[in-house]
């Protein structure tokens, strides 16, 4: 139906769209157009208004002013149903699937159709098979979603949108939890969708993906569009500068490591999902752990933090601490930035100031006459917010009210400002924008240079290569080998993550 339209009519056009939340002007008059059959990127820092904008397009919020045009027609989108009717589909960062149901059931869920169930199913299957051919995606339609990997779940979401005849597909941070291979598969599918005439809109923090995937990119800053350029005309550095408003160092600048005494030593440590792991972490070095998600790195980090039981040798400055709990390790000088901050690192219901003392709440400095001092707790939080530029800098603001990046900064501030001897850190920049990444990297290196030890688990190879002084690779719960960052090519790391030993990978 869209083929008959003039090619110059944009698939989606925003005209002076505005949205405020109370005093916060989240989107301040945004206009741009997206050509049909292109992949369009939107980048911006945390709080730049990208997600708000997409929530307006998808009908979660109503714009205060402005117009949203689909295929040249102004549409009044007040709910996701309206958006779907207008041919807009969205793949959220957090998938919205019913886990005990099958892929097929999830996809047809809510699409009204009458008639015998068997026929509906048969029709749906035929349509989905056609869609899978078109996109190159392949999913077992009768498998339960609960049994699917993260990457496959995302494909379910994409098919769900396409099944509802989405001509415009919006993806919010689509690669944040994907492995490099799944990311490639996703990008292939998106390119094929584009080539079939659909329009793709991708919100992301990862500039490298923007330059690799998109045809055109819109840069937002503080609720405004500050750039709208063809992707081939810009590079990552230029995009970062537009986003942040100043030149950004994409390269990590750090001197050589100066390792001191061993603070942590694992000897044949085993636990849930990992076995026989041995390595040392010394003062003044960052040890990175690479691996495809689900190969034991997360559990290893949890075990070292005292959150999962383990057996074997876990020595802290020479003393065995295998059976010690998190509280004890913390008291010894271990800090922990958990991989899943929402689950482990934050209490969403609490005001920020109460979240900012989590795990440090026993500190006598927070008490006056035996009682927690509101003033001290507030001052503590204000200090952390100032040092890590958490926005809004309001200790009374509920934790859930902060964007993902600012929540992460709050956790980092809490864990790093106590000058730990060892920092355990998982996925330090998940959901964090480029300006903040630069800042976080600098703080990690600063901690290292002051004699702190860092154990870093990350799924982003670039991050490991640029931050770590040594990279350990895990596969199938075992330590496959160690690579120096200067020797760590993507190919070599990829092979090792697949279970090929270091020697073989180097050959």
């Amino acid at each position: 139906m869209t083929d008959s339209m003039a090619p110059q009519t944009p698939a989606l056009e925003l005209v002076d769209v505005q949205k405020s939340f109370g005093a916060v002007r989240a989107v301040r008059g945004v206009s741009f157009a997206i050509t049909r059959g292109t992949i369009h990127g939107i980048v911006g820092e945390n709080g730049a208004g990208k997600s708000t904008l997409m929530n307006l397009v998808y009908g979660f919020h109503r714009a205060d002013a402005g117009e949203i045009r689909v295929d040249g027609t102004a549409r009044n989108i007040t709910s996701p149903d309206d958006a779907i009717a207008a041919g807009i589909g969205m793949v959220h960062q957090h998938y919205m699937l019913v886990e005990p149901m099958t892929v097929l059931e999830n996809i047809v869920l809510g699409t009204a159709s009458s008639g015998p169930l068997a026929r509906t199913e048969r029709d749906a299957k035929a349509k989905l098979e056609q869609l899978m051919r078109e996109t190159g995606l392949s999913l077992p339609l009768d498998a339960r979603v609960a049994d699917l990997e993260v990457g496959a779940r995302q494909q379910v979401e994409i098919l769900k949108a396409l099944f509802r005849d989405a001509q415009i597909l919006i993806l919010d941070e689509p690669t944040s939890v994907l492995t490099p291979r799944d990311t490639e598969r996703l990008f292939d599918a998106l390119r094929r969708l584009r080539d079939h005439g659909r329009t793709i809109l991708v919100i992301t923090h990862k500039l490298e993906e923007i330059t690799r995937l998109t045809d055109r990119v819109t840069v937002m800053r503080q609720g405004l569009v500050v750039g709208d350029v063809a992707t081939r005309d810009v590079n990552e550095a230029r995009l970062a500068e537009m986003m942040v408003g100043r030149p950004v160092l994409l390269r990590v600048e750090k001197g050589p490591a100066n390792p001191g005494e061993t603070v942590l030593e694992l000897t044949d440590l085993s636990g849930r999902n990992f076995a026989g792991v041995s390595f040392k972490v010394r003062r003044g070095e960052i040890v990175g752990v690479a691996g495809v998600a689900g190969n034991g790195q997360s559990e290893l980090l949890h075990a070292v933090a005292g959150l999962l039981p383990s057996s074997g040798g876990l020595a802290w400055k020479g003393e065995q601490v295998t059976r010690r709990d998190a509280a004890h390790l913390r008291a010894l000088g271990v800090a922990h930035v958990p991989e899943d901050r929402q689950r482990d690192g934050l209490v969403q219901e609490f005001p920020a100031q109460d979240t900012a003392i989590l795990g440090r709440h026993g500190d006598p400095a927070l008490r006056r006459n035996g009682l927690l001092s509101r003033r001290a707790v507030r001052a503590h939080c204000e200090d952390r917010m100032r040092r890590f530029d958490v926005r809004p800098p309001d200790p009374a603001w509920p934790t859930r009210g902060f964007s993902g990046g600012n929540q992460q900064k709050l956790v980092l501030a809490r864990e790093m400002e106590c000058n730990p001897d060892l920092l355990l850190i998982g996925q330090p920049t998940r959901g964090v924008d480029v300006g903040a990444i630069e800042f976080i990297y600098a703080r990690l290196i600063d901690l290292r240079d002051r004699g702190g030890a860092v154990l870093l688990v990350s799924s982003e190879l670039d991050q490991l290569v640029s931050l770590a002084d040594r990279i350990l690779v895990m596969s199938g719960g075992k330590l496959i080998g160690e690579v120096a960052p200067q020797d760590a090519t993507d190919e070599r790391l990829g092979l090792m993550m697949g279970g090929v030993t270091a020697q073989a990978a180097a050959a």
Partner: protein, 369 residues
């Protein structure tokens, strides 16, 4: 959101829930042919209209405060202690044992000792379900309910076989010695020359108010209270922070049981002046409604206790003055109140927020903006 802003929202939410529940209750009364306005007037008069009524209302409110605090504390740790009734019953045993066997002590020692004993017995009875929940994952709702029945059976047995007054015909202990009872408010005030109507309201009221203040201080100003709130809000974060959720659950159930055990101080030591069958008379369950209504506010808890106390006291007059209203209708009104004010707080929160706080959308889908 500023504290004043959020406080005004809470007040508006509770006020609209109250209005809605009175409207529904009024509708029911109108259907059975009673004049709702007149019923409401009698209810308020019966609860607050004359000095004696006020005394009775305060007496009920005292028990409800203890019971409400107990449920509230447990809720903060994410556990639903609905065994207040049984824990209060056991608290009565603790109080009675001290009052019966140590009544040679001077009141200044005896009364605190009896209170501690009541709290200890309540805590002990709550500790078992708490421990089962913490270490065996046996759901505390199930075990606390069952413990109510066990408490009932145990107390009936003890009263009939061991604690029965010598030569007494009914299953109750001998009356306590005068120095082993809580002084009535009218007696205390008479000492300083103030004469008020005689009522069962006694010194326990003061104890209850102190308990409210102490409980709030505990919950919001101490490290243990902080740990309790973390466990209730996010057990994963608690474990991450080095807090043992199991230990917190046991600790919280001990505190909860101790608080509701103090119901016995009001009922057994303050009013009946001996241990009788079924003295908690449902206070443990009213505590659930009180706690649900209280939200985050200590004043809210006191007011909720007063509301249910007024309903309990005022409805006595209502049943006498309006023949078509019976106990069942009063229960129904109580139920409607609990439904709107306790169980469905979110029903009115959204419209109120829309009205008062246009910034609410800050909490809407929070992606990586």
């Amino acid at each position: 959101m500023t504290p004043i802003r959020s406080a005004s929202i809470e007040v508006a939410v509770v006020a609209s829930a109250l209005v809605a529940s009175f409207a529904v209750a009024g509708l029911v009364l109108a259907v059975i042919g009673a004049d709702p306005i007149e019923a409401f007037r009698i209810l308020v008069y019966g609860a607050f209209g004359y000095p004696e009524a006020i005394g009775y209302t305060l007496y009920y409110a005292t028990s409800y405060m203890f019971a409400g605090l107990a449920v509230w504390v447990a809720l903060k740790a994410g556990i639903f202690n609905i065994g207040g009734e049984g824990q209060a019953y056991l608290g009565g045993l603790g109080a009675a044992l001290v009052c019966l066997f140590f009544d040679g002590l001077p009141p200044i020692l005896l009364l605190p000792l009896a209170m501690m004993s009541a709290a200890l017995f309540g805590a002990g009875w709550a500790a078992i379900p708490g421990w089962l929940q913490a270490r065996r994952q046996t759901h505390v709702v199930v075990t606390t309910i069952m413990f109510n029945f066990i408490a009932g059976a145990l107390m009936t047995y003890l009263l009939n076989n061991w604690l029965l007054a010598p030569g007494g015909g009914s299953p109750e202990t001998r009356p306590f010695a005068p120095q082993a009872t809580m002084p009535a408010l009218h007696d205390i005030l008479a000492l300083v020359g103030i004469n008020i109507a005689h009522s069962p309201a006694n010194l326990s009221l003061l104890v209850a108010l102190i308990a409210v203040a102490c409980t709030w201080t505990f919950m919001f100003r101490t490290v243990w209270g902080y740990e309790t709130r973390v466990v209730g809000a996010n057990p994963h974060a608690a474990r991450y922070a080095g807090i043992d959720p199991g230990a917190v659950i046991v600790r919280t159930m001990l505190i909860s049981g101790a608080l509701v055990g103090l119901v016995a101080v009001n009922e057994v030591m303050g009013v009946h002046k001996r241990l009788i069958l079924d003295f908690p008379a449902g206070a443990g369950f009213v505590g659930i409604a009180v706690a649900l209504m209280a939200g985050e506010s200590a004043i809210g808890l006191v007011l909720a206790s007063l509301l249910f106390a007024a309903l309990a006291q005022g409805s006595l007059d209502l049943v006498i003055d309006m023949p078509m209203i019976n106990r069942e209708i009063v229960r129904l009104i109580q139920g409607v109140l609990i439904l709107f004010c306790g169980a469905l707080p979110s029903l009115f929160r959204k419209p109120v927020l829309r009205l008062l706080a246009p910034r609410r959308e800050i909490a809407a889908p929070a992606g990586a903006s």
